[in-house]
Symmetry: C2
Subunit: 355 residues, 2 copies
C-alpha cells in the first residue's frame, strides 16, 4: 500500500485525484491528503467515499506518513521549495512542473539521490507522451545527437487553428477563450518560454548538459500572421513552433532554440495538430525515433503522473542516480529555418530482421 | 563496474559487442565473455584490446562472475533454457528473443522475480523504438484499450518496396536477396509469425492477458500481389501488415490478429516505410500515443539491448515484479479491415496547457 498526497487541485491535480479515487484506480495506491489553498471550497467537488484529508497547510502533508507527494501547484515558488521539503522529509516526489525541473532539476535530483528517494517528472514534458522515459531510459543505449519537437500544445493549437481557418492569430485566440480556454495565458506559451523550459530538461537528459532555459535561443510566435501561414501554404507547408537542440559532443557545442518555423506539409510536425506534441529524436546508431501524443490537458497529464507514482510504488527503494550535468560547452542560439523530419526510410531491405 | 556476457555473435550480438568495446562504450559496463558455437572462427572479427574471453561452452558463462547475460542466439531452444539457467545462477538477463518471451515470458518473469534478478527485453519488440517501456512503464497510468502496429520490418520493407516500384512480391524479395538480405527468411516474417509473437508480448504488457501467439488471428502477406497494391493505390491507400489487439476489460474479450490490410495514404501506417516499425497505442484517458522508429537491424537492436543493460547496471537490486497475467478471457480473431490511425486532433483549443 502506497500513500499519496496531492499538492494543488487545479486542472491537473483534480484530474489526478479523480483517477486515484475512481473505481478503476491503480491497485495499491491510496490518496490520503490533498493540499489546496482553497481546500474548503474545493473539497466538495471531489466525489469519494474514501477518507481523504483536505488541508490548506503544507506542513500537514510533510508531517503525514505519505510515501509520495505529487506536486501540481505549478509556478517556481513555493513549488521548488516544497519539493525540497518533501524530499528532505523522506518522501518521493512526482511533479508536472517543467519550470521547477528546468531551473532546479540538478539540485533536486542530487537531493533525491542523497535521500534515497525518487524525483520523477514524466508529466513535465510532452503530457502523456512518455518522452522523459524514452530519452532517459529507453534510449540510454543510443547516442542522441539531435531533438526536433513540438513541445507546447497551446501554441500548436493556435497555429494549427490559424492554418485550418485561415484566420488571424487574435481570432484563433479569441475562439479559444470563447471555448473556456481563457484561464491559461497563451502569450507565455506563444513567446516560447514554456517550450524552452521543456527543451532545457530534454537537453539535460539527452546530452548531459545543464543549460539555462532563459539562454536558449527564442523567437516569439506572437507575431505569426495569417499572411505567414498563407505564404507557408504556398510553399507547400505550414508554420509550427519547433523546439530544436543539437549537440556536438566532440566540440562540446550545443545548438538550442525555440521558434515558429516553416515545416513541410508532409512532415511529422505539420501533421501534429491541436494540442498534440511530437518529438523526433535522432541518434548515431538507430536513426530516428518519433513519438507523438496528447501534450496537454488534465487527463493526459494525469496519465504521466500516475505512471510515475506506479513506478515509485513498484520499487520504493529504487536507485535513480542524479545525472551528471556539465556546463562546459558552448551554446549557439542561431535559428535554422527547417527542422529535420522523421526519416521514413533509414533502412532498406538490406537490413536483416533475424537476431 | 558491471560485467556482461554475450550469447551469440550474429547480426545483433556482433553489433552489441562492437558497441561495448568501442571508445564511446557506456562507462562502467565491461564485456568479459562471448559465447558462440563458432567462437574460434569469429574471435578475430572483433577488434579490441580488452581481454574478452571467447568460448563455445555455455557453462563457462554460467560459471563466470558476470552480472548480466545478453541472449542473442535466437530461436526458442536452447535460448529459453539458457535464460532459465542464467537467472537460476543469479545473473540478470537481457534478451532480444521475441519467441522466447512470447512463449515462456510468464515463467521467466516469475523466476527472475524469485531470484531478485531482472529479465529485460526491450529489443524483442520494435527494435530501437522503446515500446516495451512505453507500455509497461510510461503508460502504466493509462488504461490501454487498443494497439495497432507495424511490428515486422522485413514484411514492411517488402510491401513498401512493392508499393514504390510497382513490382511483384517475388521481385521485391529477389531484390532484397541481391542486396545481401538472403540470410533472413522472409517467408516466416510475411506469414505473420514474427509479428504474432511480438503482439502476444504487447498484449501481456498492455492488458495483462496471456495469449498464445499461435492462436492470434493471422492472414499471410505472402499472397499480397502487385495487383492488390495497385487496387489499394486506387482507393487512395496502400497495404501494410498490421498487428492489431483490442481488449474489452468489462467483457474480458480480446481481439487480436496480424494481417495485410488496406491503410489510408495519409495514415501513420502508410507513412511507415522500409524496415521501420510503428505503433499507435489508444487509451481511455490520453487518446493516442504514436511511436515510430527503426524496427530491425543490428545497430538499432543493439541500442535497445544496451539500454536494458544500463537500466540493470543502474540498479542491480531493482524490483521488477512479474506481471499478473490472466487466461480468463475470450479471444476473437476476426480480421477487421482498417486499423485505427493516429488521431491528429484529439484535443482542441479547449484544453488548458497550464498545470
Amino acid at each position: 500500500m502506497t500513500r499519496v498526497a496531492l499538492l494543488g487541485f487545479g486542472t491537473v491535480g483534480s484530474a489526478v485525484a479523480r483517477r486515484l479515487v475512481s473505481p478503476d484506480a491503480p491497485p495499491g495506491i491510496v490518496l490520503t491528503h490533498i493540499f489546496d489553498r482553497r481546500a474548503d471550497l474545493k473539497r466538495q467537488t471531489l466525489q469519494t467515499s474514501q477518507p481523504v484529508e483536505w488541508t490548506s497547510r503544507f506542513s500537514a502533508v510533510i508531517e503525514s506518513d505519505v510515501d509520495i507527494v505529487i506536486e501540481a501547484i505549478g509556478g517556481v515558488e513555493p513549488a521548488a521549495d516544497w519539493i525540497r521539503h518533501a524530499l528532505a522529509a523522506g518522501k518521493s516526489v512526482v511533479t508536472a512542473n517543467k519550470q521547477v525541473v528546468a531551473r532546479h532539476g540538478a539540485s533536486l535530483w542530487a537531493l533525491a539521490a542523497r535521500q534515497g528517494r525518487q524525483l520523477r517528472f514524466e508529466a513535465a514534458v510532452g503530457g502523456a507522451m512518455p518522452i522523459v522515459r524514452a530519452i532517459a531510459d529507453g534510449l540510454s543505449g543510443e547516442r542522441i545527437t539531435r531533438i526536433d519537437a513540438i513541445l507546447n500544445g497551446t501554441t500548436n493549437a493556435v497555429l494549427s487553428r490559424m492554418e485550418a481557418r485561415g484566420c488571424s492569430q487574435a481570432a484563433a485566440i479569441a475562439e479559444a477563450r470563447a471555448n473556456g480556454y481563457a484561464e491559461a495565458n497563451p502569450e507565455v506559451d506563444l513567446r516560447g518560454d514554456d517550450a524552452r523550459a521543456k527543451l532545457a530538461i530534454l537537453c539535460a537528459l539527452a546530452f548531459g548538459v545543464r543549460v539555462d532555459a532563459g539562454e536558449i535561443g527564442v523567437r516569439s510566435a506572437e507575431h505569426v500572421s495569417d499572411t505567414d501561414l498563407e505564404e507557408a501554404r504556398r510553399r507547400n507547408g505550414t508554420v509550427r513552433q519547433i523546439a530544436h537542440a543539437e549537440y556536438d559532443r566532440s566540440r562540446r557545442r550545443l545548438s538550442a532554440w525555440v521558434a515558429p518555423v516553416f515545416v513541410r506539409r508532409d512532415s511529422i510536425f505539420a501533421r501534429t495538430a491541436g494540442a498534440q506534441n511530437c518529438a523526433v529524436i535522432s541518434g548515431e546508431h538507430a536513426g530516428q525515433i518519433a513519438i507523438s501524443g496528447a501534450g496537454a490537458g488534465g487527463s493526459a497529464t494525469a496519465v504521466a503522473i500516475i505512471s510515475d507514482v506506479l513506478a515509485i510504488a513498484r520499487d520504493r527503494a529504487a536507485i535513480v542516480p542524479a545525472p551528471h550535468l556539465t556546463t562546459d560547452f558552448t551554446l549557439t542560439t542561431e535559428i535554422t529555418e527547417e527542422p529535420v523530419d522523421f526519416d521514413r526510410q533509414p533502412y532498406g531491405l538490406e537490413v536483416a530482421e533475424a537476431v
